[in-house]
Symmetry: C2
Subunit: 392 residues, 2 copies
């Protein structure tokens, strides 16, 4: 299979907006009387509405997973894997990608207006769980006239949504693709998230969460949070290869007091600043808390085998060797629980030195694993349509 660079792009795409008028009661008990979702679709829904795939984004993702927005020079965040002839093939599937509530790219969240008060939500946007995203996605599913997802796919927090779908609405998906994910965060995972949140909250421009109302933004705190996240997304090996101990400025040899700066420092500071200009601090706090709270088996007496006993779909689990945020061992826990629960599971342990970020980046083995699995899914749908056609 050739690299994704040889394949066609989706081309220009336009986001759509829908206001969900049906009340959504969140896990925390608060009800959203209505909520807005921004989403994109790629490919065509087939005659029996059976070829729909849901893409679930992670912490900082958006609805813009593939193709180009008018005037943009770079494509959506998962363009390497979504498109005609790509692993998630838009010539065979109808692919739905939304911005989830609580995020900051147009769907209801801390930067949007609370319809009940007319004020911006800010830090008062309610606490969320992954299941709330699933429920909101289910409303979008109804809106689009889809009864069953051919697959629900996501990496990291996206994989958690795919797993939650399999337990909450087992009859509404045929396949769950769980990439670089975990059934729950470790203490270390939570620790990094907490430091990121404290970085944001101790920025004086955070204003106890009311920065939008005061026309400020905790840019320094959010940049720090992102820098820290970034280090945990990359592998030690990759950082060594990419930056090593190369200097950006200064020198060790001159006996001068000029500042010495390593390339990795400059890179991280750039990444932090770029992110803080494009993401919302309250959303970052809210979604990292979602990650911390996620515990697949909590309501199943902490037993993941019991949890997955409720699933009816097939599973593809994918991990990356150098991912230390959600290490391969965390994926193997998922696989073992699925096997013990008697489920149909495929597991692809991909060699990669790209760390957790590997799930977003081009990788032929990963592409092959995803493409061949989903190709079988598409073949199954075609056969099923064929069979129905034969009967009528």
């Amino acid at each position: 299979m050739s690299g994704s660079s040889l394949k066609n792009s989706i081309g220009l795409v336009s986001p759509q907006t829908v206001v969900m008028r049906e009340p959504l009661t969140l896990a925390c008990g608060i009800m959203l009387s209505s909520h807005t979702l921004v989403f994109e679709t790629y490919g065509q829904l087939n005659a029996d509405n059976s070829n729909a795939i849901l893409i679930c984004h992670a912490l900082s993702g958006s609805h813009h997973a593939a193709g180009f927005h008018e005037g943009d020079s770079s494509p959506g965040w998962w363009d390497s894997y979504i498109g005609p002839g790509k692993a998630i093939d838009s010539s065979r599937f109808f692919i739905v990608s939304l911005n989830n509530i609580g995020s900051c790219f147009g769907s209801s969240g801390p930067t949007s207006i609370n319809p009940d008060t007319g004020e911006v939500w800010g830090a008062s946007f309610p606490s969320l769980r992954a299941r709330d995203w699933v429920e909101s996605q289910r409303l979008l599913m109804e809106h689009l006239g889809i009864e069953v997802w051919a697959a629900v796919i996501g990496g990291s927090l996206g994989g958690m949504q795919a797993m939650r779908w399999s337990l909450e609405h087992p009859e509404k998906l045929l396949n769950a693709v769980v990439i670089a994910s975990a059934m729950k965060l470790s203490a270390q995972n939570i620790a990094f998230n907490e430091i990121a949140r404290r970085a944001i909250k101790s920025d004086p421009d955070y204003c106890d969460g009311d920065y939008l109302q005061q026309e400020k933004a905790p840019l320094h705190g959010l940049a720090l949070a992102r820098m820290l996240g970034h280090v945990t997304y990359l592998s030690d090996e990759l950082m060594g290869q990419k930056f090593g101990r190369e200097l950006r400025s200064g020198t060790f040899s001159t006996e001068k007091t000029q500042p010495i700066e390593f390339q990795i420092e400059s890179y991280l500071n750039y990444q932090g600043d770029k992110f803080s200009d494009s993401f919302d601090a309250n959303s970052y706090i809210l979604i990292t808390k979602m990650l911390d709270y996620f515990d697949l088996a909590r309501q199943y007496q902490g037993n993941p085998v019991k949890a997955f006993g409720h699933a009816q779909c097939k599973f593809l689990v994918i991990s990356f060797s150098s991912d230390w945020r959600f290490a391969p061992s965390r994926s193997r826990e998922i696989v073992h629980a699925l096997i013990s629960a008697g489920k149909d599971v495929s597991y692809a342990a991909i060699e990669s030195d790209m760390g957790h970020d590997a799930f977003l980046l081009p990788n032929n083995r990963y592409e092959d694993a995803l493409a061949s699995y989903l190709s079988r899914v598409a073949d199954g749908l075609d056969a099923s349509i064929q069979a129905e056609g034969d009967q009528t």
Copy 2:
């Protein structure tokens, strides 16, 4: 060998202060016309001044390595390993532990007065390298009338000083004990340090480093830096065992909006706040930069074998299995370079789930390795004195 808890403590100790009047030209080219060192000693110097051991502290350490200060309920930072009958045996060795320049426990550094200006140094304290600490330690050595260290011992940055001693003054030490250390930092190590520095610098109370002059302190930034450091000192396993996903407040089951806080969050916030009350932010920046800059073989064409070719002492290298800040592989690099350079090296790879912090914590295997090595050193000194006695 029994655990250290069964052994005797040094008891009450008092720090001493000495002003070094000899100018010290730093690696950056700046000259300190004089500098102050605070130090403690444990045990007695023998007749021929041959039983002295130098203890080198790491990032946040001080001269107070063992025993108790008047009124203190907790002992020095390495009390588990220093004392009569302990691994670093004060009944056989004369143990010298100093606060290095640039730190903040009484020796010249950002919180002390620049004698040339009469003003507090603050952020203007010159940039330091590990070799500057070694030179300052050499002045203390002369002051104490010591010609050769029986051993120079340190963990982490302390181990870097021990290695630097072996190259800069090969004739002045018989043994170097290098614990949980590395020949240079990786890009990931530097990345974490840079995030910590940026956390401090983006605290408005940092005042571009002039916070002391303005009677402020970047407590939030320094706390963040420490929280981050702390996560990298602990292993994922240990954090899992110690905290897991236990909650400190709130509950997942009540459908209430009360905040949910994990134990690990509370613990880290406590550690961060405690540290920022006792350490200086400019010192933290200065010493993390020292760590980043350290590169054992830089002036030896980047060849550690060539570097260690200059050493004359014996080496003990110790690593800890769960240390991911300076992983065992980093210690093995040291060992391999020493072997290739034809040096006498012992290596103890200790099993521990305590992460990088293991070098500070009780561990029988570690204690045995250190004690048996140093016991042979002491035996050698005794035999040498005996032989001299026989000759006269």
